[in-house]
C-alpha cells in the first residue's frame, strides 16, 4: 500500500499541469500513474508547431511544449510511475494499478485527478462498409509510426476527416515523400482549424472535398481503392455521385472520444453531450475529492487550454487534500439555443469569489456576428459579441466576480445572431 496527497492518472499535458499545480499549492506527495514509458501523453508524436500560443506567447512544437512541463514536474519532485496501468478507482479514492515490476499496486490518495485523455474513433465506430484489408489507419497511429518509429505505412493516401490531426498528417506525409490524393469531409464544413487548412492543405495543393465520405473499402490483402459518395444536407448519400479512388492507405481523422472507463468505475457522473465527467468550476467531479481535466472531460482544440484546466484541477485537488472540503451547493450550467456543450457544467455557490471561464461549442456555423448570452432563469447576466462562431472552434467566455454575485438559479449559455 502506497499513500499520497494527490494521485494523477495520466502524464499527458493535463496530468502534468495538475501535478505541478498540486505541488505548488502545498500537496507534499504527488504521484502520476502513466501507462506509457515516458511523460508527455500524445505531445511527443505531435512534432508540428502551433503549441503554446496562449500560455507562453510562443509557437512551439509539441515535444518542446511537453518538455517545459516535464522539466517542471521533475524539479518539483512529482513522482512518476511509468509502464503502469490504473485498472480501478473506488469512490473513496483508492487506486489499483498494475505493472510488470510490482504486480498489483494499491494507492490510497487524499484526492485524485483523472487525466486519461481520449482515444481516436476507428473504422468500426463510423461503420465504413466493404472489405477488411490492411492499410486502414487512424491519423494518430500514422503520426506515431511516421514521427516516432520511423515508418511510412503507405505511399498513396486518402484521408477521411478534416480534423486537425488529419490535415497536419497530410502535410507530414507529403514531407516524407508520400502522395496525398485528397482529404474527404462528410460534413459541409471544415472540422479542424482554418489555419491548418491553409498551411497543411493549401500550401501543398492537397484537394479537400466537403460533403463527401467513404462508401466502401476495396482490397483483399492490402487496400487497393476506396469508393466515395457525396452527401446531401441531410447527410444522405446521393446516388450517382460515387467515385472510385485508387490508393494503398486510408487514414481516418474522424474524431476523438474521452476515455472514461476508470471514471465510470469511480462512480463519476458523465455528461452525454461531452462524453466526459460532469465537472464544477474547480474541475471537481460528482464524487468529492475526484477531479478531472483535459481531453477526458471534453475534446479541446488547443493544448494550452488543456494545461489551463489541469492547473485548476491540480490546485483544487491540493485544496481538497488540505481541507477535505466537500463540494458545496452547485448550480447547473446548461447549453441553450445553438450551443452543443458547456464546460464546466456546475458552478459552486460556496466560496464564489473568483471569476469563472466557460468553454463551449456552437452547434452550427455562424459566418456573421453572434451574441453570447449567459442567462440565469431568463435574466441576462452577461452578453458578449463575437465576429463569427464555428463548431470546430471552442469559444470561451469569462464571468467576472461581480457578475457572479447573487446568482443562485440554473444558468444557460445561448448563442444568437447579433442583429
Amino acid at each position: 500500500m502506497k499513500n499520497c496527497d494527490v494521485a494523477v492518472i495520466g502524464a499527458g499535458p493535463a496530468g502534468l499541469a495538475a501535478a505541478i499545480e498540486a505541488r505548488k499549492n502545498g500537496a507534499q506527495k504527488v504521484i502520476i500513474i502513466e501507462r506509457n514509458n515516458e511523460a508527455g501523453g500524445i505531445l511527443p508524436q505531435c512534432i508540428h508547431n502551433g503549441f503554446g500560443s496562449v500560455l507562453f506567447k510562443k509557437d512551439l512544437p509539441g515535444p518542446r511544449y511537453a518538455h517545459e512541463f516535464i522539466k517542471q514536474a521533475r524539479e518539483l519532485g512529482v513522482e512518476m510511475i511509468f509502464d503502469t496501468m490504473a485498472i480501478d478507482i473506488t469512490p473513496n479514492r483508492k487506486i489499483y494499478a498494475t505493472n510488470s515490476r510490482d504486480g498489483l499496486l494499491e494507492i490510497d490518495s487524499k484526492s485524485i485527478v483523472l487525466a486519461m485523455g481520449c482515444r481516436e474513433r476507428t473504422r468500426a465506430q463510423i461503420r465504413i462498409p466493404g472489405d477488411r484489408p490492411a492499410g486502414v489507419y487512424t491519423a494518430g497511429m500514422v503520426q506515431r509510426l511516421v514521427n516516432m518509429e520511423g515508418m511510412l505505412p503507405g505511399r498513396k493516401f486518402v484521408i477521411l476527416g478534416s480534423g486537425d490531426i488529419g490535415m497536419i498528417m497530410a502535410r507530414r506525409l507529403v514531407l516524407e515523400g508520400a502522395k496525398v490524393i485528397k482529404v474527404l469531409e462528410a460534413l459541409p464544413y471544415l472540422t479542424g482549424l482554418r489555419r491548418n487548412y491553409v498551411q497543411c492543405l493549401q500550401d501543398f495543393d492537397i484537394p479537400l472535398s466537403l460533403g463527401t465520405t467513404v462508401k466502401r473499402i476495396i482490397g483483399k490483402k492490402r487496400l487497393n481503392a476506396i469508393e466515395t459518395v457525396k452527401l446531401d444536407e441531410k447527410m444522405t448519400p446521393a446516388a450517382g455521385t460515387e467515385e472510385i479512388i485508387e490508393c494503398d492507405t486510408l487514414m481516418l481523422s474522424v474524431g476523438l472520444i474521452p476515455e472514461n472507463e476508470l471514471s465510470k468505475k469511480a462512480g463519476v457522473l458523465l455528461d452525454p453531450l461531452t462524453g466526459g465527467p460532469v465537472v464544477d468550476c474547480d474541475m471537481q467531479t460528482s464524487v468529492p475529492g475526484i477531479f478531472a481535466c483535459g481531453n477526458v472531460v471534453t475534446i479541446y482544440d488547443l493544448v494550452d487550454y488543456v494545461s489551463k484546466a489541469g492547473f485548476i484541477a491540480g490546485k483544487s485537488a491540493a485544496m481538497f487534500t488540505a481541507k477535505n472540503t466537500e463540494s458545496g451547493g452547485t448550480i447547473d450550467i446548461i447549453p441553450g439555443d445553438n450551443v452543443r456543450s458547456v464546460i464546466p457544467q456546475k458552478l459552486k455557490t460556496s466560496g464564489l469569489l473568483e471569476s469563472v471561464s466557460l468553454q463551449f461549442r456552437v452547434s452550427r456555423e455562424f459566418n456573421k456576428s453572434i451574441a453570447i448570452y449567459i442567462k440565469e432563469n431568463g435574466r441576462i447576466v452577461k452578453k458578449s459579441v463575437r465576429k463569427y462562431a464555428r463548431p470546430a472552434e471552442m469559444l470561451e467566455i469569462t464571468i467576472e466576480e461581480k457578475e457572479l454575485k447573487g446568482i443562485n438559479g440554473q444558468m444557460q449559455v445561448q448563442v444568437a445572431p447579433n442583429d
Binding site: 508547431n49 514531407l175 489555419r195 500550401d203
Partner: protein, 121 residues
C-alpha cells in the same frame, strides 16, 4: 485589386482582406483582430514563410528519431527542399531539447533545433 487571406499566426484564423493599389502595394487591410494579422498579410503577399518541423535520425538513442524545428520560418518555396536536406542529418544520443542540429540551413541564417531530449541507450 482585392486579395483574401486566412491568418495562420494564431488558432483564431481571421479572414483578412487586403485592397491593393495599381502598383500592387497594400492600401487597406480589413478583418484582422490584432497586429499579427497585419504582419501576416504583409509577409504572405511578398515573402511567404513557414516554420518547418520534421525529424532526424538518432544513433544509439532510446528512440530512432528526434523531432526538430526551424527556429525561424523558412521561405515557403524551399520547404520540400529543406525537409529533404534535414532528413540527411543524423545525430548521436544523448540529445537535449534546444540542441543545435544544423547551424545555418542553406546559408539562410536559420538554425535547426531539437525539440526534445533523447537519452542514450
Amino acid at each position: 485589386m482585392i486579395e483574401k487571406y486566412i491568418c495562420i499566426r494564431c488558432p483564431q484564423g481571421c479572414e483578412i482582406t487586403t485592397t491593393l493599389d495599381g502598383y500592387g502595394n497594400i492600401k487597406e487591410i480589413k478583418g484582422n483582430s490584432c497586429k499579427l494579422g497585419i504582419e501576416h498579410v504583409k509577409t504572405e503577399s511578398t515573402d511567404p514563410r513557414r516554420v518547418l518541423t520534421t525529424s532526424v535520425k538518432v544513433k544509439n538513442g532510446v528512440l530512432p528519431l528526434c523531432p526538430v524545428w526551424t527556429e525561424k520560418p523558412v521561405p515557403k518555396k524551399m520547404i520540400l527542399q529543406a525537409a529533404e536536406e534535414i532528413h540527411k542529418i543524423s545525430v548521436n544520443a544523448p540529445v537535449k531539447a534546444d540542441q543545435i542540429i544544423e547551424e545555418n540551413l542553406f546559408g539562410l541564417g536559420i538554425r535547426v533545433l531539437a525539440s526534445r531530449d533523447i537519452d542514450a541507450i
